[in-house]
Amino acid sequence: MVRKLDKVDVVVVGTGWAGGIISAELGKAGYKVVALERGEEKSTKDYIGVKDELRFTNRFEMMQDLSLETITSRNTLDETALPVRTKHELGVGNDLGGGSVHWAGATYRFLPYDFEIYSKTVERYGKKKIPDGMMLQDWGITYDELEPYYDRFEKTAGISGEQDPNPNAPKHSSDYPNPPTKETPNLKLFKEAARKLGYHPMQVPSGNVTQNYENPDGQTINQCVYCAFCTQYGCDFGAKSDPIVTVIPAARKTGNVEFRTQSYVRRVLHKNGKATGVMYVDMVTGQEYEQPADVVVLAAFTFTNNRLLMLSDIGKQYDPNTRTGVIGRNYNGQFNITFLGARGFFNDKKFNLYMGAGALGATFTDLTGDNFDHTDLDFLHGGGVELRQYGDGAIASNKVPKGTPRWGPEFKEKSIYYANRNLVVWYTPAVMPWWHNYTDLDPTYTDVFNDPLLRATFKYTDQDRNIAKFGIEKCREVVEEMGADIVDDDEIPEEFDHVYQGGHYAGGVIMGSDPSTSAVNNYLQMWDMDNLFVVGASAFPHFSNHHPTATVGALGYRAAEGIEKYLKNGGGSLAKSHEQKDKKII
């Protein structure tokens, strides 16, 4: 029996950056909010003194328990999708704070080009430049419109960085609130090489905060000490910007927000075109609950946002054969064809690679977006070129030059010799949307409640291979300039390998200005159900050439503002659809 609870103003599904920001903002505005998290209650106490590489990096301690739910994956429409069974192949954040607790902290904004990518591409190169089947579309919002929300996110998160010296870099209305991370010898080496090649290097904008910082909500983030246990770990020192040290305590402070953990949402409930609440299971007792609310917000990971709409039968499922429908459309993300580059091995130089932080790194943006002429190039968009110093663990640091055996005496000797003598420079290419890449429900495999799993269909195209090739060549030039004795190029994979490690998966519930090609408007409000907001990377119509978090945060603030407007106005759509605009003009 489902037990019905008292109605609240807003119910939020997910407690990462998106859900955390929305909960805090609406709590501050005086609304009663319940935020539901499928994972466990966590605080910084859980992450103190647990620097254990095997447990966190190799056994994926902080990732979703796949015995409850996973996804299925295939490359093409005529294949049978198979479940992604192990955490080695699928790492999606879990527990309070979501994936935003184990993230590395690289905090880039997307580019003005991204938000108007269709218009700007056509304007500069003509329609013919866009290959048939590439579902390029504008986001229904411009960079300038989103800029204030980026700025807010960066201040909440205490982002530590410097102004991008690239003259084509997007304008920021104010500086980062904290100075950049430290310039280590390997980063210096990278920057010197990049400058010699005519690029404009800088420190990666970082969520590993460089000084004790009190954010505008009054929450304190501590100074990062570069302890190296960062990506895939919660922070030992409360020094990584994450929801559990920022927006979650800010939300709690209002007295209006309740975070309910181990609460597994199974359905969005709706009646007559309005969401009425959600149905969830208390994973401790097994009791099913209905949580009614005036506004429902899906702010979970991309996969969950997609799947909950499909399971709840909200919106029209995308059909690749007819290229109609919107839910599941433009599924995209950065898979194993991205982040390729060149690795340099140094015979006469050693680096303190065991020290580091998730977002400690150097980069340049000269080869991002449309900052370089694509007239004679066989791809669109670009990528960042990065050198990171995560802080290598002892299990991970087994990099050997190509041609070295994978085991035995030679492997042992070289893996130990080069443990502190190798640096990798990679390219972080954008990923374009294609008609054949989408999500829907799997016809065979089910979760612990016997609901269908989400099925992801994704394959690479020439665009992906060509941009990867371009990036690898550029990275090789940098690594050679850095003086490496051996430079090994990464190899371009033939096809997507169904490994989802990296957390950069997006789309399926995309934003836009036309309800026939987008699911949500530029306040992340569903076109088909005006009291349902779907927030997160699921709204990205394509994947830009930078890490997604700043944009998720900015969209979180944008959605929070929209929800507040909606509640104040007593309902209604917050944005005019493209079709309606056209009618007005006529």
């Binding site: 898979f335 299990i395 035995g408």
Partner: protein, 284 residues
């Protein structure tokens, strides 16, 4: 980050500068092959900073409390454990750089890992149907070299992990693989695997690595990759798991173990060698 820690760092840092060393793996192999030189001091001069003091003499076999953990909890048959031990030692052999898998406690590490929630695949999706058709088998033959992969693979072990599509859990795969390896050894050489010459053992391991051996329910390369992954993990995981005995794996790599803070050292132009500390030190 405490003062205590800082003091230790200062005491133990010998200020060794790794820069300026020269390394030529080809030359080293040549010297080895001619048999003129054997390990020890001369090898040290070639490998330079790799050989810190603790490896110029044999590490003492100290009977510590840790050794009481060296008992089997997964492999019931001693014979299976012996085969496992011999295989790991071929994958990560003892040499003049330092100890091999057996001395590092890798076989006991593996034994413990297999009798854990990870060994039972407790947090993996293990619902059927399990598709073991040609498509999957073919897929499993594709190596997944992590260094050629996407975001954050820098922090993953450098071992291929083919797509997992078997109803067997990791413990079952390992037991089946170990016994199949011994069976292959009996068929080819009428001897148990652990009694073979090293080259014979390598030949059998390579056959498994290449997927040439028939195993029920899983490709032999899947078993081999799991064995290799576990061996590397056992050499370098925190000693709390039973491997990396006395932090000897970390000493070889000049990896210090968990530390509170590097903020004072991270801009150093010199490579800094610190005394190894384990999670036990860190938490106490």
């Amino acid at each position: 980050m405490s003062d205590k820690d800082k003091t230790n760092d200062n005491n133990n840092r010998n200020g060794k500068n790794g820069n300026g060393e020269h390394y030529d793996p080809g030359r080293r192999r040549f010297i080895k092959n001619t048999g003129i030189l054997a390990g020890g001091v001369v090898g040290g001069s070639i490998l330079g900073g790799l050989l810190t003091n603790q490896f110029q003499k044999e590490p003492e076999q100290v009977q510590t409390e840790t050794d009481l953990q060296d008992a089997r909890m997964f492999f019931d048959r001693r014979e299976d454990f012996n085969v496992l031990s011999a295989a790991t030692e071929r994958l990560f052999p003892k040499d003049d750089i330092g100890p091999g898998a057996i001395e590092l406690g890798v076989p006991y590490f593996i034994d413990k890992q297999l009798n854990s929630s990870w060994g039972w695949n407790a947090k993996n999706y293990m619902k059927g149907p399990f598709v073991q058709n040609n498509y999957v088998r073919d897929y499993e033959k594709k190596d997944r070299d992590q260094s050629k992969q996407g975001p954050h693979t820098d922090v993953l072990p450098e071992v291929p992990t083919p797509r997992y599509q078997t109803r067997l859990n990791r413990g079952e795969i390992m037991l089946l693989g170990i016994r199949t390896m011994d069976q292959v050894s009996q068929d080819r050489y009428q001897s148990s695997f652990d009694k073979l010459e090293g080259e014979q053992q390598d030949e059998i391991l390579t056959a498994f690595e290449n997927g040439e051996i028939e195993m029920a329910g899983v490709g032999s390369e899947t078993f081999f990759n799991l064995l290799l992954q576990l061996t590397i993990e056992g050499a370098f995981a925190d000693p709390l798991y039973g491997g990396n005995k006395n932090m000897m794996g970390w000493k070889m790599k000049e990896y210090p173990g968990p530390r509170a803070a590097y903020i004072g050292d991270i801009e150093s132009e010199d490579f800094i060698v610190m005394e190894q500390k384990s999670l036990k030190d860190y938490q106490s």
